[in-house]
Symmetry: C2
Subunit: 234 residues, 2 copies
């Protein structure tokens, strides 16, 4: 290995350490920090592994060829649908949390498509995977991503970040957060692939039916960690 | 908060970041690095929480009063026991891996007892919890510790460290390592408490019986991650 390559590798290692620790110390939901960590940690080889994985099933392969977008989402209009539909429940989740409609950033290749697709479907995944918007819910969804966008250096780093944050700031949530990681990972492994689904064709379908078709019903292990740990010795 | 307290906190934060990243970059099994990270991250409050947890069941409470030690272990002698016993299987595990008999460091209070007890029983926990000595096996055992020595900043940090190491060095083991964490955490929650057990009274008991009594039989989810992830989309 020549000097330039070695220096580049050392610089990359320092950059990852710096951006990792910066996001450990930032408040939850620091999207700029996530993007910076992603840029530092996701190398060409890992991107290739992920695209190979996503291309290994028809829905993923098709999405990477056609780059389908969610398009503009009218939350008020979706909120008029029957209240058991995906559209209504998604809109209700967005409106109650005062979230803006999903971003519609431009796409020019598969890498920017992957990023845009995950951004614009993030809250739909929240709803169908049964993840709250609290810390445990975000960790559960990261465990779910780790199984579905596989094998991802970024999602491993995000899970590591949140375990460190739990240690340093929220030790009383230790059980909830390890339960969430566990549930998300197991659910993500068991579920059918969500990447590439054209959700805008499913707004009128009952959420229950969507979840059933995607094998996304709740796992039986969703008991509260603290209760389980404490009852074991009670 | 006065200046001295603020400076102390900032210094502690820098120390944790430094020791965390040092152990991310160290080879697996860097016991000195683990001890240094433990010293930086485990504060009085967290130690108190852990001792309260361990004191909340009779076996733990008694161990913290009597501070029982494993004593000197003669691996060759244990290896003469019938080959279904805990003693034989433990000795076999130690001899095959060329491990030295467990350390017998001095104990002068509950904190040094906890540390000595976990050190000297570490490989017994490996055997009874069904954890290999490879990377996945160590991660499974860390997930198990996180449930049994609860709530521990150190074990959360160790799990975070190993997820980062997986991202940076072993991305092809991503599925195995998240499976291991998940299995260890779930098994540790479900099992009876191992802390405080006087293992030297159980050498002659069949391992199967020990595991049965401790509710330590294997979980049904122990399939290989990659197979499960890939078969789901096959």
């Amino acid at each position: 290995m020549n000097l330039i390559t070695r220096l580049k590798q050392q610089w990359r290692s320092i950059l990852i350490a710096y951006r990792f620790w910066k996001i450990v110390q930032a408040p939850y939901g620091d999207f700029r920090g996530i993007a910076q960590l992603s840029a530092a940690i996701t190398d060409e080889e890992n991107a290739k592994q992920i695209f190979e994985f996503l291309s290994s099933y028809p829905q993923g392969k098709q999405a990477l060829q056609e780059l389908p977008r969610l398009g503009k989402v009218d939350l008020q209009q979706l909120h008029q649908l029957p209240n058991d539909t995906l559209g209504y429940i998604y809109a209700d989740h967005m409106l109650k949390n005062k979230f803006s409609p999903p971003p519609t950033s431009e796409v020019h290749d598969v890498a920017s498509f992957l990023s845009a697709h995950l951004s614009e479907t993030h809250d739909i995944w929240h709803v169908v995977a049964g993840c709250d918007t609290n810390k445990a819910g975000e960790i559960k969804l990261q465990g779910f991503y780790a199984a579905q966008i596989y094998p991802s250096k970024l999602w491993l780093a995000m899970l590591a970040k949140n375990l460190m944050k739990t240690a340093l700031e929220d030790i009383e949530l230790c059980g909830d957060h390890l339960d969430a990681l566990t549930q998300g990972w197991m659910l993500g492994k068991r579920a059918k692939p969500l990447f590439g689904i054209q959700w805008n064709k499913l707004w009128e379908m009952p959420l229950e039916k969507v979840c059933e078709q995607l094998n996304l019903h709740e796992l039986p292990t969703s008991t509260q960690a603290n209760e389980a740990v404490l009852s074991r010795i009670g």
